[in-house]
């Protein structure tokens, strides 16, 4: 397997995709984080479903809930960007479109994250 690799290529360990295991690993780390966080999110959603704004604000005003929601937002957007990236790479074969959609994927997640976290800070503080 390493027979035709140069010593430099071997120590870099990036392989044919030039990205190594970085994407794979970040996907797993966020997946592991999301196991407890998404179960917590269902609990949170059930805690405020059907209630008015006051109840939702009171729930998110609790430090533990605000922190858990912030972690959930960050982990879910990170995981989502990585997952959608693979879908785009699998099905979009025109280089220009692929780069454009990957850019949109990443930048849109940043905007969603900034907006969500700002709203959360405004509620929690």
């Amino acid at each position: 397997m390493t027979g035709t690799q140069t010593p430099l290529a071997r120590v870099e360990g990036l392989g044919a995709a030039h990205a190594g295991t970085g994407h794979f690993w970040r996907q797993r780390v966020s997946a592991v984080a999301l196991v407890p966080l998404s179960i917590w999110f269902v609990y949170a959603a059930l805690a405020v479903v059907g209630a008015d704004r006051e109840a939702a604000v009171a729930f998110l005003h609790q430090p533990v809930n605000a922190i858990a929601m912030a972690l959930f937002v960050i982990a879910v957007l990170h995981h989502s960007v990585l997952g959608l990236q693979v879908v785009v790479e699998d099905y979009v074969h025109t280089e220009g479109w692929k780069i454009a959609i990957l850019l949109f994927n990443q930048l849109f997640a940043w905007i969603l994250g900034a907006v969500s976290l700002f709203a959360l800070v405004k509620i929690a503080l």
Partner: protein, 133 residues
């Protein structure tokens, strides 16, 4: 008498519509579809947080949208997507440590994950409507 080759029914190489869907293929496709749905769902999460931060009127618009039939169908789909992606994701993590690859085991875990996701979705919906309280 020989037909012209264009008129003859030519053998086709197997493809998606020909194969009987194995469990592992169905769960793999569903995992990806659920992931895409959940990604779209992050927009609704942002909407909920913005509405809560903005005020009672904005929150009422969100709550009313979530409660109407279209909103309920969307939310039902998202709850199932979350349940399936979570359970099947755990199945993937088990595969990542090198276990559960035997055909029998992989098929069984796939069916288990599908059944659990449906049961969890129904439970969450009953809870959200105050049925199981």
């Amino acid at each position: 008498m020989a037909h012209k080759s264009a008129e003859r029914v030519r053998p086709l190489s197997p493809h998606l519509q020909i194969y009987r869907w194995p469990v592992t293929m169905a769960t793999s496709i569903a995992h990806r579809a659920a992931g895409i749905a959940l990604s779209a769902g992050t927009i609704l999460l942002a909407w909920w947080l913005i509405a809560a931060a903005t005020g009672a009127d904005a929150y009422h618009v969100f709550a009313a949208s979530a409660a109407n039939p279209v909103g309920q169908i969307v939310l039902f789909g998202l709850v199932w997507s979350l349940a399936f992606h979570l359970f099947n994701g755990i199945r993937h993590l088990v595969w990542d440590i090198g276990r559960g690859f035997e055909v029998r085991t992989a098929n069984r875990s796939g069916v288990t994950v599908a059944v659990l996701s449906i049961l969890a979705t129904i439970a969450v919906f009953l809870l959200s409507h105050g049925v199981l309280h």
